[in-house]
Amino acid sequence: MLTILFDGIAYGMLLFVLASGLAVTLGLMNFVNLAHGSFAMAGGYITVVLVNWLGFPFFASLPLAFAASAVIGFIFERTLYVHVYRKPHLDQVLFTIGLVFMSVAALDYVMGSSQVFVQVPDYLQGQFNFFGVGIGRYRLLIIVICGLLTIALQFILAGTRFGSRLRAAVDDSRVARGLGINVNRIFAFTFAFGSGLAGLGGALGVEILGLDPTFPLKFMIYFLIVVTVGGTSSITGPFLASLLLGISDVAGKYYVPTLGSFVIYTIMIVVLIWRPQGLFSRASSR
């Protein structure tokens, strides 16, 4: 019972790291980036290459996956995305779906279409027993890393100078510019950071979710669910939504395996009908 709860929390945390970057671009920059999963996939494959091919230790590969995905995100933002910010949402959908298709086919070409895994060190494998609760070592690691990340994110957005500049740039970019804030640079930095988070999530997720070139398409729905259910006006919303979805998905499959994914979709619809702006958002943000 508690094992299931634990698994659900770990799953939810993983979803959160994967989706939080999307929450940032969608909620703060008001940009529909369906290609978010592609950055996660990039992070995942970078880890696979580093660990399996080049023999890097697993822990060293995590920050590298973050950095590399962030750099890729930065380059894309500067060269491509920047032209699309002002276009209507439908154009953004078309554009980012195009990017997803390209990334899927490109990785298929480079890495093959089979699922790949990363060799995690032995001490992260298996479970240990804690007062009768089976605790997966790797899942525990995910919870710790994601927990720290959440606190850091919340602090950056709410407590730092950068956070307040970002919020200013989003609320009214013209006025922000007038106040001497370099809006372009802030957006680029935020985007890169969001991509980096996705990359980190991808790297952490390889062990649990598996990785193949269709990853961005397979998990796009989950990211969108997290963001819409959580609401896009804060970081805590998507965080709690991720936990809710993770736990209910795992528990639903455990207790009523025949219902499959029913639970997660029903929860989403009910929440959105009940609170169209998302479960945890202050009313009428946008």
């Binding site: 154009d91 554009f95 195009g98 029913f262 619809i269 169209p276």
Partner: protein, 349 residues
């Protein structure tokens, strides 16, 4: 000064001018029907284009005319498809046309029930609610495998000849003639609909719901109505697929199906009825060509095309659809002039 009289006459004049046929439209449909005779070896892909065009037309009705964005339109497509396939499999209704109508009505019923879910909320909320409905239906169809065949698809349906005479042949000849006729009839109805006062009121709802309700348009009723109609269209599109392939599968409900549909409509341009159809032609032909050329990596090139379309600017690329757009503009202008003339006429003693 005599105050201008209410120009009811002018308004009807304006409406009928708006609804007048442009020569290019005749060309479009003549080509579509001529393909029955001229391109017999392409009928299979043409059939696919025809039902995709109908499906896109359905999305255009709610997105282009009422501003409801949906990522779950496959729900109605699949629902209609399964109805048609089930009716044929258990030999409940043997006449395909009748089965098609029943599928359409069934999808409309589903559309009516679910329409209340999309009345409120932002674009993103609507996107996800519609998606959720489609995914739920997919799970349901999977769950009730004894009826739907589950993940194996509904096998073993035999579609009886059309009007008891025209067999659905292997070459897809009957299939295409049937699909393009259905598409044309439903297009005519849609055309009438969007050019009617109802269509106008829809567009005003899309433009500004608050003001529309202030001038006495009942916004919710309008949205429910158009959503229901569009659902019926999508159901018929799905039924066409099911009848021309004698098969229905869970894929009909899939997220990819809805997402592709949205791409089709965006490529063609929403809000002028022909957008979905032109988008369907471009998308299918491109996909067919590229996937035959490089079966493994064609998504890359499709993706590249999409990215380029957006970066270059959709308007600039689709300039060759401008005659259609210009047509709309010119009709507006012509109608305005005629309306002005009519009202001047009215003011003379």
């Amino acid at each position: 000064m005599i105050p201008p009289r209410p120009t009811i006459l002018a308004a009807t004049e304006w409406l009928s001018a708006r609804a007048r046929w442009h020569p290019l439209e005749f060309v479009f449909w003549i080509v579509a029907f001529a393909a029955i005779w001229l391109m017999p070896e392409r009928h299979l892909i043409l059939t696919e284009i025809a039902w995709l065009a109908l499906f896109a037309l359905s999305l255009d009705l709610i997105l282009g005319y009422a501003g409801i964005i949906s990522l779950g339109h496959a729900a109605f497509f699949g629902f209609g498809g399964y109805i048609a396939a089930l009716l044929a499999k258990y030999e409940i209704v043997n006449e395909p046309v009748l089965a098609l109508l029943i599928a359409g009505v069934g999808a409309m019923a589903l559309g009516f029930v679910t329409s209340f879910l999309v009345l409120r909320g932002s674009d993103l909320t609507r996107l996800m609610v519609t998606l959720g409905v489609a995914l739920l239906l997919r799970e349901l169809a999977n769950r009730y495998g004894w009826l739907t065949g589950g993940a194996d698809g509904l096998q073993g349906a035999i579609i009886q000849p059309l009007f008891g005479t025209f067999r659905f042949d292997m070459f897809g000849h009957t299939g295409y003639a049937y699909s393009v006729t259905v598409l044309f009839i439903l297009f005519l109805i849609a055309r009438r609909l969007v050019n009617s006062p109802f269509g106008l009121s829809l567009m005003s709802v899309k433009g500004n719901p608050l003001r529309s309700s202030a001038i006495g348009i009942s916004v919710d009723a309008r949205l429910v109505a158009i959503y229901t109609i569009a659902a019926g269209y999508a159901g018929i599109a799905g039924a066409l697929l099911a009848q021309t392939t004698a098969f229905a599968s869970l894929e009909m409900f899939s997220f990819d199906r809805s997402a592709d549909l949205l791409l089709v409509l965006i490529i063609g341009g929403a809000g002028y009825l022909y957008g979905g159809m032109i988008g369907a032609i471009i998308f299918k032909v491109m996909q067919d060509y590229l996937s035959a050329l490089t079966p493994q990596y064609w998504p890359f090139w499709i993706g590249l095309v999409l990215v380029v379309i957006v970066l270059v600017g959709r308007d600039r690329i689709t300039t060759w659809t401008t005659p259609f757009r210009r047509l709309a503009a010119r009709l507006d202008w012509r109608a305005a002039r005629r309306a002005a003339a009519a009202s001047n006429e009215g003011q003379k003693p």
